[in-house]
């Protein structure tokens, strides 16, 4: 039986809230033993990773609630294999695949296809999301029962808000029969129509039509009211404004069943990044103002926002190498999430264990799943990283088929050394060069 002994590393466990030096022994697919530093020994044939007295950190494998894998339908942008490879290189072991494939995941066949492809690629646990409405057209409900039975873990028309309040109410009610949450892209299309970036002084200077923060706030407010009225489970995707953080915080305090995620780009960048017209700063929701960014960080720190999710959205140069107005929305994020989260921790935005929670227990909790943490008998889904390693991000180092990241050329700090999925290495940094 194969195994890995990680010796004398810094172990970050978001479940027991511990942060201490120790050893982790993986045998087969599970964690076989944990112990104080340099106390565990390994049988012959077990790979030994020297943690260097805490130089390397070990945490449960990261979980991304919001990934566009583009398969089936747009494999020239990304497929389940390349997306899984990027995820593994980013320290992720579980990724949630959004439903806006071609065809849309509004039927069991697409859900099963994604699950099977994910398993056969074998680099990540790929969990599919089903659509809320047929074709994500916002008109008739998708078959939630069939989607759930096929393996969908959540429902979303991501990219489209459910503009019909009547349909949104029905969806929040009906989803409860199948214990599924609704992952909502909160954007009032009437307020955002024609918009290209956050509305503010920067959009004025660039002459790019603005998307007011109110486009998100109005949508979040309605969604929260309907979640409260129905008792349904609502998850707000990629929160970007100060007001929506405040609305979610207040709703949580009232006991509304709401969770939320924020992206690394929204907690790292502001609308100032758009100066220069780089199409890799264009996404929905847009990069917001300074106060919005601060509010998103505060929401991550106090738990108003449960999860860091990338909204990994690959686009080829056909969609992205164009004037700003014509370029597609979205950027990739699987390989930059961890270093950007570490940068947020270093800047004092949130505590280290808090950061680990937002990337592990937080997102699993959104799906109604529990993370076993670093525990004996738990599946050995682990991210092992060197937090001090700095590197210049190059397009060539990105495993995605698409290279649409605004962070190419940035110096990042914190590199994934090894990712283990069920005890098996899905990524090793020294082999990827």
């Amino acid at each position: 039986m194969t195994g890995v002994l990680i010796r004398n590393a810094r172990l970050l466990d978001p479940v027991r809230h511990t942060d201490e030096l120790g050893d982790v022994l993986v045998v087969g697919e599970t964690i076989a033993a944990l112990g104080p530093p340099a106390t565990l020994s390994a049988a012959d044939g077990v790979e030994i990773i020297d943690g260097g007295a805490g130089r390397l950190w070990v945490m449960p494998g990261l979980v991304d609630l919001h990934v566009h894998l583009r398969e089936p339908g747009e494999e020239y942008k990304e497929d389940i294999e390349s997306g899984s490879r990027a995820a593994a290189a980013g320290g992720f072991t579980t990724i949630v695949a959004m439903a806006n494939t071609k065809p849309v995941a509004d039927n069991a066949e697409v859900i099963r296809y994604v699950l099977e492809r994910g398993r056969s690629v074998g680099l990540c646990r790929v969990l599919p999301v089903g659509a809320v409405t047929m074709g994500q057209a916002g008109e008739t409900l998708a078959p939630f029962g069939e989607l759930k039975a096929a393996g969908a873990v959540a429902l979303s028309d991501d990219g489209h808000w459910l503009a019909s309040s009547r349909l949104c109410r029905s969806a929040l009610e009906y989803a409860q029969d199948f214990c599924l949450g609704l992952h909502m892209h909160a954007e009032d299309p009437g307020l955002s129509a024609g918009g290209l970036m956050h509305e503010g002084a920067v959009s004025t200077g660039l002459g790019l039509r603005g998307i007011p923060g109110a486009a998100e706030d109005v949508a979040v407010a309605r969604d929260l009211i309907l979640a409260e009225a129905t008792g349904g489970r609502l998850h707000i995707c990629h929160v970007s404004t100060a007001r929506s953080v405040e609305l979610i915080r207040a709703a949580k305090a009232r006991g509304v069943r709401v969770t939320a995620e924020a992206t690394p780009h929204h907690f790292t960048l502001t609308d100032e990044a758009v100066v220069g017209f780089d199409p890799n700063t264009k996404m929905r929701p847009p990069l917001r103002g300074v106060a919005d960014r601060q509010a998103v960080i505060a929401g991550l720190a106090d738990g108003t926002i449960d999860a860091i999710a990338t909204d990994h959205a690959p686009h080829s140069t056909i969609e992205k190498d164009a004037p700003y107005e014509e370029a597609a929305n979205g950027i990739i994020g699987l390989q930059t999430a961890l270093p950007l989260a570490l940068a947020l921790w270093r800047a004092g935005g949130l505590s280290l264990l808090n950061m680990v929670e937002r990337l592990t227990t937080g997102p699993l909790g959104v799906l109604g799943m529990t993370c076993p943490g670093l525990a004996r008998g738990a599946p050995a889904d682990l991210a092992i990283l060197d937090p001090e390693c700095t590197f210049d991000l190059t397009a060539a180092a990105l495993m995605s088929k698409s290279k649409n990241s605004p962070f190419v050329g940035w110096q990042l700090k914190g590199a994934v050394e090894t990712t283990l999925l069920g005890g098996r290495a899905t990524y090793r940094r020294h082999e990827s060069k």
Partner: protein, 313 residues
């Protein structure tokens, strides 16, 4: 001073005060050429200037073409109706093809803000922005500055008021940058739905809450074109209401200083932003703006395509 030779002209942003004055001074010499019987000098002989307009334009395109021809450059024009762009060619492909044709300068107008910047990063020819989306229209601002300086002899401290659709106006943005650079005192006014956020902090201008506040004591009243699309997008009820509430007529024009002038980048919606009497009246310098446009564009082409540096040194 910003070096102009061999540079792109993408916007007023980045042009310092001395460079602006240098362009205006150079234009003064060229305007005289345009008033001669033989309106041509050999300065840019052998150079090729292409105009490519993705939006309709009469005066700007004509003005650039005349400017190039009066400097003896060869000109070519692409109008997008009927061109490859209508057949789905992307700006990226167009750029690569243009580059293969060994052009010296490309004058581009495009509906997308930042399109000239996109082109400039991808071709060897010098790019001159003839208006991009709602972003900038630098040669319009330069000709406006030229017209103001000609009339008042100075720009510093000049009381300029810009009124109209500020939200969608690239002319306003370029003027706001240029006027701030030369130290004019600028006030702006727009109907609330056409007022973009952050003007004061971005451009150092004063944002007025009433039209009268903008008119009182202005030496230059710059009015902007109102696009008819603004009615259908729910920003304004009707042209009639715009004319009634915000249009400049004789009574309103009387509120600016007695020696003040009226400007408009054209084309004017007669009876909407301006009443016919003020448009054709003695305060109007609208046609002077058009004449100065050719001279200013000659100066820009001349300074960018060479000759200028030697002449200065």
């Amino acid at each position: 001073m910003t070096r102009l030779a061999g540079q792109h002209l993408l916007g007023m942003r980045g042009l310092d005060r001395d460079t602006i004055y240098r362009i205006l001074d150079t234009a003064t010499g060229f305007r005289d050429i345009s008033r001669r019987t033989i309106k041509k000098v050999p300065t840019l002989r052998g150079r090729v200037v292409l105009t490519i307009f993705y939006e309709p334009s009469t005066r700007t395109r004509m003005s650039f073409e005349l400017a190039a021809k009066r400097l003896s450059a060869d000109t070519a024009a692409i109008q997008v109706a009927g061109s490859a762009a209508q057949k789905g060619e992307t700006l990226l492909d167009t750029a690569q093809n243009l580059d293969a044709m060994q052009l010296d300068a490309v004058v581009i107008r495009h509906g997308a803000s930042g399109a000239p910047h996109f082109l400039a990063e991808r071709i060897k020819a010098r790019v001159i922005n003839a208006g991009d989306g709602q972003h900038e229209h630098p040669t319009q601002a330069l000709l406006d500055l030229y017209t103001m300086r000609e009339h008042f002899g100075r720009l510093e401290g000049l009381e300029v008021s810009i009124v109209g659709d500020l939200l969608h106006s690239r002319v306003a943005r370029s003027n706001l940058i240029g006027l701030a650079t030369v130290g004019a005192k600028v006030r702006v006014f727009a109907p609330r739905t056409l007022l973009p956020p952050g003007l004061a902090e971005t451009y150092g201008c004063t944002v007025c809450t009433t039209l009268d506040e903008a008119l009182e004591g202005a030496r230059v009243l710059m009015t902007l074109r109102l696009q008819k699309e603004r009615m259908t997008s729910g920003l304004l009820p009707s042209l009639r209401e715009y004319a009634r509430e915000y249009g400049i007529n004789a009574e309103r024009l009387a509120k600016i200083r007695p020696d003040g002038v009226l400007m408009h980048p054209g084309p004017v919606n007669r009876g909407v932003e301006l009443s016919p009497e003020v448009m054709d009246g003695p305060r109007s310098v609208i046609l002077a703006q058009v004449e100065n446009g050719v001279a200013v564009r000659m100066a820009v082409l001349y300074l960018i395509l060479g000759g200028g540096e030697e002449a200065a040194s």
